[in-house]
């Protein structure tokens, strides 16, 4: 089997049995925004606005590089944004403006 076929047959999250590094028993205290992201995921699933399975598909479709480089909840929120765009619940522009607004709460303008 050539390498490109393998890419179709085994998606980036499908890693059972693949070679892996030694286990680092890493842990971190969940950050408040990570917990909020988890709560958001559960509520969206309960309401079936975005089900858990859709979220998994959304994370998978971020592709191998993003899956490799983003942290767990970074992948979730990026996947949610994309799925909500796909469903027409949010638009990219709307999110962009809101993100600017949220960022501005924590910053101040100074004249150049």
């Amino acid at each position: 089997m050539n390498h490109s076929e393998e890419l179709l047959k085994r998606l980036p999250n499908d890693i059972g049995g693949q070679p892996g590094a030694p286990i680092q028993r890493s842990e971190h205290q969940y950050l408040p925004w990570e917990k909020r992201c988890h709560a958001l995921a559960d509520i969206l699933d309960m309401r079936k606005t975005v089900s858990t399975e859709e979220k998994r598909r959304g994370v998978e479709s971020l592709g191998a590089e993003m899956i490799g480089k983003l942290t767990y909840y970074e992948r979730w929120i990026a996947a949610f944004a994309n799925i909500l765009f796909q469903k027409g619940i949010l638009t990219p522009g709307e999110l962009a403006v809101k993100m600017d607004e949220v960022a501005a709460r924590h910053s101040r303008g100074t004249a150049a």
Binding site: N13, I15, G16, G17, Q18, P19, G20, P22, I23, Q24, R25, S26, E27, H28, L31, W33, K35, R36, A39, L40, I43, L44, D45, M46, R47, T49, T52, L70, Y72, Y73, E74, I77, A78, F80, A81, N82, F85, Q86, G88, I89, L90, T91, P92, G93, E94, L95, A96, V97, K98, M99, E101, V102, A103, A104, H106, S107, R108, G109, T110, A112
Partner: protein, 315 residues
């Protein structure tokens, strides 16, 4: 010109030839047709392209809503795009950029005021989380109250719950039977509700079988009784190796299982969540249910370590 004609939103261009604009950096995720290398750069509007046309970014999500806005042909000096550009300062790029609806402009009027972040500025993804949540609340798809309440639910789920189940199963054979037969009912008997639409299966470790749980595809975990999983459970090394070389993985946790004991790895991929019922350690016959529960660790209920008891530690 006939008086009294009201123009539709989008009929009139927001920008005009000769306007100095800045290309928006507002493209968090999604599908876009404004390439990364021009975002945040100053540009000059050279031409308003008429008539208005569809939003090609919305089209990418299957929404052929017919919303029409103007495109602009803009010029950007290569020295603006590429700091240290060594060609002529007259060299430039031409590109067409869409004017997004309302305030969400792909381009916005040029503004030299820099935004200076404060020390506690949240990161990009935290901003995205807050923005998504607030937009969904504003659209009444979710409520802020239910997020707050669910955070309390999540905080209330810790490995102490699982430890109570294990200790009760050790001291109460009837409860153990119920726990192994209908795990969810036995948990509900203890007051543990199931907020995820999942089933729980308790896997009993015996003299002959040692259970280990993993989710190779994602991070399925018995959150109702153990809380949120540790990082290592969700990271690649554990997920990839646990199903192929469980003994080597266990050894990295300091756990050695004799060859005559079967290691049974359970990979959670559907609606079933697994909890390992570890073996009760020797020398604990006189301990109370509560004392026993204190011995039971999260990792023992994942199956990567046994429950340890050192004689003399608990009287």
């Amino acid at each position: 010109m006939i008086a009294g004609i009201v123009k539709d939103d989008g009929d009139e261009p927001l920008f005009h030839e000769g306007d100095k604009v800045a290309i928006s950096e507002r493209f968090p995720v999604g599908h876009y047709r404004v390439p990364h290398y021009i975002r945040g750069k100053s540009a000059l509007v050279e031409e308003v392209i008429t008539p208005p046309a569809i939003d090609n970014e919305a089209e990418g999500f299957g929404r052929n809503v017919g919303l029409k806005r103007h495109y602009y042909r803009v010029s950007i000096p290569l020295t603006e795009l590429w700091p240290g550009y060594t060609g002529s300062p007259h060299d430039g790029l031409r590109i067409e950029v869409y004017e997004m609806a309302g305030k969400d402009l792909t381009m916005h009027p040029h503004d030299h005021t820099p935004i200076v972040a404060t020390d506690e500025a949240p990161g990009y993804y935290e901003i995205m989380e807050t923005a998504v949540r607030e937009l969904l609340v504003a659209k009444q798809i979710i409520s802020a109250g239910e997020i707050r309440r669910h955070l309390e639910v999540l905080d209330s789920r810790t490995p102490q719950l699982g430890a109570k189940l294990v200790a009760k199963a050790w001291v109460d054979p009837d409860f153990k039977k119920r726990l192994l037969a209908d795990d969810r009912a036995a948990c509900e008997e203890m007051g543990i509700s199931f907020y995820e639409n999942t089933e729980l299966t308790v896997l009993e470790n015996t003299e002959k079988v040692h259970n280990l749980i993993v989710c190779t595809l994602c991070s399925c975990y018995p959150r109702e009784v153990l809380g949120l999983p540790p990082d290592w459970y969700k990271l690649t090394p554990y997920r990839s190796r646990a199903v192929k070389e469980p003994r080597a993985v266990l050894a990295e946790f300091g756990t050695v299982i004799p060859d005559n004991v079967e290691i049974r790895v359970s990979d959670s991929t559907a609606m079933i969540r697994y909890l390992v019922l570890p073996r009760r350690p020797e020398g604990t016959d006189n301990m109370t249910e509560q004392q026993l529960a204190e011995l039971v660790t999260r990792d023992a209920m994942i199956g990567v370590v046994p429950v340890e008891f050192q004689k003399g530690r608990v009287q």
